[in-house]
């Protein structure tokens, strides 16, 4: 059985947002809608301040809450595990937007463009959409994947911190990467408490782990918070 997903090695993410831009270019999303984005958090205090980068996208969960709550049945999961929204069926109830614990679903009310007069690129994507407004989210670049290519964010990543593949195939890029590059590290999901079993997993940034723990220890010694 195929379980398409992504492994993100946080040790290599430099927060350049190339994935964000590549995704916008591939999907032609309107302003304010970013399927792939990088969250940044600073921690510690000068001179020991640090930054962590967290690239996020739709987690293509095995138990997607968005699919369960959709009153129209517009959200489906394909055989290879990609969660998709059927624009024609979406009724705009927006229950999925609330239910998604990752904030991965967007519902732009107005189809505004970046320029007063839409560019040919924007025109193309406006016409491509069958209906508007509808709920929108990352489709794991299914159109590229079915052509045998990797998603746009994966191809663009300059540090190759995003690895795309089939979790169930031992010879997939994901499993090879885990075997060869990070044999000790354990992939972990975000918000495991939500019980969604995401197929986008993360590998820890060992340097950031050390720094964060060091800060915690220092704070404990001083009797304060990080």
């Amino acid at each position: 059985m195929t379980r398409l997903g992504m492994l993100i090695d946080l040790a290599y993410c430099i927060g350049c947002n190339a994935c964000t831009v590549a995704c916008k270019q591939e999907q032609g999303t309107p302003p304010g809608v970013m399927y792939a984005r990088v969250l940044v958090r600073e921690f510690g205090k000068y001179p020991r301040a640090g930054k962590i980068f967290l690239p996020i996208l739709c987690m293509h969960c095995e138990h997607p809450p968005c699919m369960k709550v959709c009153p129209s049945g517009a959200i489906t999961r394909t055989e290879d595990g990609v969660v998709l929204i059927n624009e024609e069926i979406c009724s705009g109830a927006q229950a999925c937007v609330t239910a998604c614990p990752y904030g991965a679903i967007f519902y732009p009310d107005t189809l505004h463009t970046y320029f007063e007069t839409p560019t040919p690129f924007e025109e193309y994507h406006i016409q491509r959409r069958r209906k508007f407004p509808t709920a929108m989210k990352c489709n794991l670049c299914i159109q590229r994947v079915r052509d045998g290519k990797d998603p746009a964010c994966v191809v663009t990543c300059p540090t190759d911190c995003r690895i795309f593949g089939d979790w169930d195939d031992p010879e997939s890029k994901i499993n090879k990467y885990l075997r060869e590059r990070r044999p000790v590290a354990e992939p972990f999901p975000l918000r495991p408490d939500a019980g969604t079993r995401p197929k986008v997993m993360y590998l820890p940034d060992t340097y950031a782990v050390k720094r964060v723990r060091w800060e915690v220890e220092l704070a404990a010694e001083r009797g304060g918070a990080v």
Binding site: I52, H63, V69, G73, I89, G92, P101
Partner: protein, 256 residues
């Protein structure tokens, strides 16, 4: 003609059928509640109940109900026809439920009633609305019903209305046997509709407003607690808040 189920079936059989229906409903509701719990609906509600005053809570709930039920904001925004059919079914179901409750209260012996009786008028209007909405959705069954259970739900809702009218007219014009069979079909379809409700699209009538309400209350509670200090920082509702939770989750993972 008076219709009493006990004239046709043994009491134990009716009790057993009712018990089976109730067990199905309870199991389904428990399953759905677990799903809602996973999404965090109850955590959000509890947090809101802890932080907000009863007045704020009541205002938020009434405002959400008014916005979604009366003004139907955010309910089917893509097609006026679909919206009308949906609202027709919703109003029809509510009116039928009111009519049944009134009959239960004011006519416990199920004696025949005139068409001008209040429950009859309400029930008939509800039935017509159910039929109108039902016809629309049945004609578009392949498009809107993605799962077989949803098609069953749409069909059952329509059957309830048809058999309801059938029973009514059979009591006036038909024989006892015909009336009895149609009435039995009506009751079986109502029981099947209610028993399958938590497993079909029926449940979205509870689920969707509850989810939206929980988000609204959670936002208010977050503002009150100081977690959302300036609402302008969160122009996209709770998305930014969810993102912060993801980063916090990662930091916790690193700390542990």
């Amino acid at each position: 003609m008076s219709l009493r189920l006990t004239d046709f079936y043994p009491v134990w059989f009716i009790d057993l059928a009712a018990a089976v229906t109730v067990v199905f409903i309870a199991a389904g509701v428990a399953y759905r509640m677990l799903e809602l719990r996973r999404i965090g609906v109850f955590t959000h509600m509890a947090e809101a109940a802890r932080r907000l005053s009863p007045t704020t809570l009541a205002t938020a709930i009434l405002s959400e109900l008014f916005s979604r039920v009366v003004m139907t904001r955010g309910v089917i925004t893509d097609s006026r026809w679909r919206w009308s059919a949906h609202y027709s079914q919703f109003a029809g179901f509510i009116l039928c439920a009111i009519a049944t409750t009134l009959v239960y209260i004011y006519y416990p012996t199920a004696e025949p009633r005139h068409f001008t009786a209040i429950p009859k008028i309400i029930g008939n209007i509800g039935g017509i609305l159910l039929l109108v909405g039902g016809v629309y959705f049945l004609l578009r069954l392949s498009k809107w019903s993605r799962r077989p259970v949803d098609a069953v739900f749409t069909a059952l809702l329509f059957t309830v209305a048809v058999t309801g009218f059938g029973t009514q007219f059979a009591r006036v014009s038909g024989g006892a046997s015909v009336t009895f069979w149609i009435y039995t079909a009506h009751l079986v379809s109502v029981a099947a509709l209610l028993a399958s409700a938590p497993f079909t699209r029926f449940f979205h009538a509870v689920q969707t407003p509850l989810i939206r309400l929980s988000e609204r209350l959670y936002m208010l509670a977050s503002v009150k607690s100081g977690a959302l200090t300036v609402l302008k920082q969160y122009p996209e509702g709770t998305r930014s808040f969810k993102e912060e939770m993801l980063v916090e989750n990662l930091l916790e993972k690193y700390k542990s």
